[in-house]
């Protein structure tokens, strides 16, 4: 990376962090620290909610998914708008009316202390680990691309976030996120324009899309129902609905964002904005990945995008064999480029027969190219059984650093850092608010003053920050990172959502029934996941339904367990 790119990267990061700290300089109460005095307007909430969900992983794995698997991942977000509507109708009015700091406070009012504590503890485990991954994920990739030690990238990301979150709390997080999203949107548009402009001169946007389509990269919708198929319209709408409902309705990192709203309506509008923009944004990210795929059909394509793994094999006794495979791969890819040009000309001339013939040839050469890559993967595994052969997370940054002009590279790397910092900051802020409100203030220091809670909160942020940095240091290879975070979420979210669903809709069921149901359901979800009975999105459905059914059943037997009438 050039000096100018470093200047752009450091300048962007410094500007945003200083802006966030300046805007939150008068933070002295926990109301300000956790909820920004409940004074933020809807667009602030909308951008903050989006920045919290869009981590660095989104901008690394997203285009990587588009590159390797096409647009199918967009279906994962189909349940999101429906979840937004239900949260606007049920969750937001209750949380606002009860004036809670955390979502779990409501559970004590509705059930009892043990249910609140269990749910808050499940959240802390899940969010603590996930936040560690959100620091680790971009750090490992940036360290490979920028050729700096991973410990530096982890510490840089972790410490910067800890500093401004400790200083300004939620207010600093929200203000930085608003600017972050502005830069992220600009970066995405710029990346999309650049990838199209870098195509060969005779390949326009329409041609590139047709080529991607012929290579099976633009199949966005799969209507076949199969619980073992990771992404189809049904898993997206049903499983995705449960996952997003749980994430936005019960995960404090998101609840904490919309509780900052000036009013119920401002919070609602923020979520409506998210519901309208999320699918188009994700579509654009995936489409950029598919366009990068088309771009590499005309340029010499690396056999492997993870340079660290390539250098390992090139320094082993398999180096010659690997070089041979690479040579063969380049020859086949050159053949593939020629066929793609032929296909493009046939499509332009509307020659159906020639198009069909070229498509058939393309499928054959594509299969050949894929089998050569598999051969290389096997060789890497043979050399080192622990080798990470999933390089989809590296594709986008390799494309950016090797092909884009000076300045744009720095800006796009800043986008990745900023996205990581935005979601990490929300994670830290929510871990702190839950620890302070649901544990410290509830059990240890019930009658403390503002200063004692503020002091504890600041130290708690530092503590959680260091814990997450520790998780990032010890995180091992996790396959596709965006999926790793979603799988971790799916293990806990269904059960947490089930508890809230019982609270909202089964008014007669009490604390003991839902507490036992939650414990049994969590065990069931872990067993189902371990046995690999179904794909992870369905775990959310299993967890939630299991809590609902078991609580209803247990309610019949636990006669003493009278439900508190919900205040909502």
């Amino acid at each position: 990376m050039s000096h100018f790119d470093w200047l752009v990267l450091c300048g962007t990061l410094a500007f945003i962090i200083l802006y966030g700290m300046w805007k939150s300089r008068h933070t002295s109460t926990i109301e300000t620290y956790f909820l920004a005095d409940r004074q933020l307007p809807w667009y602030h909430i909308g951008l903050s909610v989006m920045a919290t969900q869009a981590s660095a992983i989104t901008f690394l794995s997203g285009p990587g998914q588009g590159f390797s698997s096409g647009l199918g991942f967009v279906q994962f977000y189909f349940g999101l708008p429906l979840a937004m509507v239900l949260i606007c109708i049920t969750f937001i009015p209750i949380f606002h009316k009860l004036n809670v700091f955390t979502a779990y406070e409501y559970l004590e009012k509705r059930f009892d202390n043990k249910t609140r504590t269990l749910t808050a503890a499940l959240f802390l485990i899940q969010r603590g680990l996930s936040t560690g991954i959100t620091i680790y994920a971009p750090a490992i990739i940036l360290s490979t691309i920028l050729n700096i030690d991973i410990r530096i990238t982890i510490l840089l990301n972790g410490i910067l976030v800890i500093v401004y979150t400790v200083y300004g709390g939620t207010k600093a997080v929200s203000y930085t996120q608003m600017l972050q999203m502005g830069i992220i949107f600009s970066g995405l548009i710029l990346a999309a324009i650049m990838v199209i402009s870098l195509m060969p001169s005779d390949i326009g946007l329409g041609d590139a899309l047709h080529i991607a389509g012929k290579m099976d990269k633009l199949k966005a919708i799969n209507t076949e129902f199969d619980v073992n198929d990771r992404y189809n319209i049904w898993s997206g709408i049903i499983g995705g609905f449960f996952l997003q409902l749980s994430y936005f309705g019960t995960d404090q990192s998101q609840v904490g964002r919309y509780l900052t709203g000036k009013s119920i309506n401002q919070s609602r509008m923020g979520l409506v904005m998210n519901g309208l923009l999320k699918i188009p944004m994700q579509f654009i990210i995936l489409l950029i990945g598919t366009m990068v795929f088309v771009f590499y059909q005309f340029k010499p394509q690396p056999l492997f995008y993870n340079k660290a793994e390539v250098s390992k094999i090139m320094n082993s006794r398999y180096a010659d064999q690997y070089a041979g495979i690479e040579k063969h791969y380049n020859t086949v890819n050159a053949e593939k480029s020629a066929i793609i040009y032929k296909l493009n000309s046939a499509m332009k001339a509307d020659d159906e027969q020639a198009t069909a013939e070229a498509s058939k040839e393309l499928q054959m050469v594509k299969a050949k190219s894929e089998s050569i890559r598999k051969e290389a993967e096997q060789l890497m595994k043979k050399n080192n059984n622990e080798a990470d052969t999933n390089d989809s997370n590296y594709v986008f940054l390799i494309f950016v650093t090797e092909n884009l002009p000076v300045g744009v590279v720095g800006l796009l790397i800043a986008v990745i850092f900023l996205a990581g910092m935005g979601s990490t900051a929300s994670g830290l802020s929510s871990l702190t608010s839950t620890t302070t409100v649901d544990f410290y203030r509830r059990f240890i220091n019930k009658q403390g003053d503002e200063k004692s809670y503020m002091d504890f909160s600041r130290w708690c942020t530092v503590g959680w920050g260091l814990f997450c940095v520790g998780v990032a240091f010890y995180a091992s290879r996790l396959g596709n990172l965006i999926e790793a975070v979603n799988i971790l979420g799916s293990l806990f979210y269904g059960v947490i959502l089930g508890i809230f669903m019982v609270a909202f809709f089964l008014k007669r069921v009490g604390g003991t029934a839902v507490f036992i149901a939650a414990l049994v359901s969590e065990l069931l979800v872990v067993v189902v996941w371990k046995l690999e009975v179904m794909e992870f999105l369905w775990l959310n459905v299993v967890g939630c339904l299991s809590v609902l059914i078991l609580s209803l059943t247990l309610h019949i037997f636990i006669k003493k367990d009278k439900a508190k009438i919900a205040t909502a």
Partner: protein, 36 residues
């Protein structure tokens, strides 16, 4: 409690969100089929 016109307004907004989701699905299906 929300008054009637306020409730109507929000119901329309929710309807808009669901309609946009359906529109997204239709557009994506068309997009996939067009560039097959």
């Amino acid at each position: 409690m929300m008054n009637l016109s306020e409730r109507k307004k929000w119901n329309l907004i929710y309807l808009l969100v669901i309609s946009v989701l359906l529109l997204d699905i239709v557009c994506l299906t068309f997009f996939s089929n067009h560039f097959k």
